[in-house]
Amino acid sequence: MRIAIKKNSKILALFAIACTAVVGLVNEFTKGHIQNQQQQHLLTILHSIIEPQRLNNNLANDCRLVTDPLLGSSEPQTVYLARFDGEPVAAAISTTAPDGYNGNIQLIVAVNADGSVSGVRQLKHNETPGLGDKIEIRKSDWITSFNGKVIRDEKDSRWAVTKDNGMFDQFTGATITPRAVVKAVKQTVTYFKQHQQALFALEGSSNSGSCRDEGQSLSKNQNSDTSGEES
């Protein structure tokens, strides 16, 4: 009995080692490709909301991790800074709309240095297919209705869906999703206005490829050192 257990556990261990080795090898082989793909994907999204000709820095590497209640989550969010010859052009801020119809909606919001919205894209959502998923750019161009919009003051009532007397359309059969997105974008722009100086002040980040956590200087409650990268 004991011998059988010993023998079996040895065999099991051998197989575990072999399987892990194979996975490790494949991981080693694909690591570079995967990183490339993610970077590429990220750049595609960033360039779709901030036109590439407006900036000349390395957008994907010039980034910060920030945590702020206005960004809808206690997780650190990433801010990508676009500059032209060192002058601030725009910032792309990842944010979360916590009150979607079916959980969190992850967005990336680009705000120009003058406080107007440069572009918005959704990164991840679980909204109902066919109704709430019109926030995706490939389903509908609704998300582009944010382009160029500005917040006049704290209580700008135009930042709501038409049903609530605002300037953004809701979808037939889905009001909760656009409502959540509008609110999240508004909060993100507000955040940008409050922190614009601090965000751009930290000049010329290293090209290490990972975002520095600026939690201490930019917010009260930094809580993790994950590389909170959402792509």
Partner: protein, 233 residues
Amino acid sequence: MSNEYKELARQGLWKNNPGLVQLLGLCPLLAVTSTVTNALGLGLATLLVLIGSNITVSAIRQWVPKEIRIPIFVMIIAAFVTCVQLLMNAFTYGIYQSLGLFLPLIVTNCAIIGRAEAYASKNPVKQAGFDGLMMGTGFALVLLALGAIREVLGQGTLFDGANLLLGEWAAGLRVEVYNLDSQFLLAILPPGAFIAMGFLIAIKNVIDSKIAQAQPQPEEQNIERVRVNFDAQ
């Protein structure tokens, strides 16, 4: 010899189809078949894993003690799934994103461990590999049929987003069958998948009974269902 392969092909593609007859792996089958592209992506991934795991399980069958064969099979399958997942992440990033969780969940597709246990662990490498190919193809075909039905009904297109899986040239594959102002929700949501699946199974049964009627002396019904039996036999 060739008869054996013919029988394997018939079992995998029709008589004992993992999707239509064994009804294994229904979770990914129903969840990701909202478009043909997704279905093709998951079908190919499952096919690769199934061939790989069948060949490996068959190759090592002498060294695996009966008592611990299941954990070893699971490990092998998990290793293959992880490799396929990494490869898809590296080379077909778009489809990797749209398959999401269902790619790693191939590990739990009972069709795979079912074939390992019922066939590969008892047969030589060549046959086991061929069995994996046929079973995987059978599964992928059901996925494709379901994906096509749901995509046409729900979005009025075919091969939408094929460029994510096959590269840029495939963007031209997209067919707009008809134009919908709003999508037909039922076909896109999981209940639509269940209903379409039911129709597919019904059609298969109708064809089977037609064939049985056409033959004066019907073959004996010998559908071997796979059971993953955890008791020592």
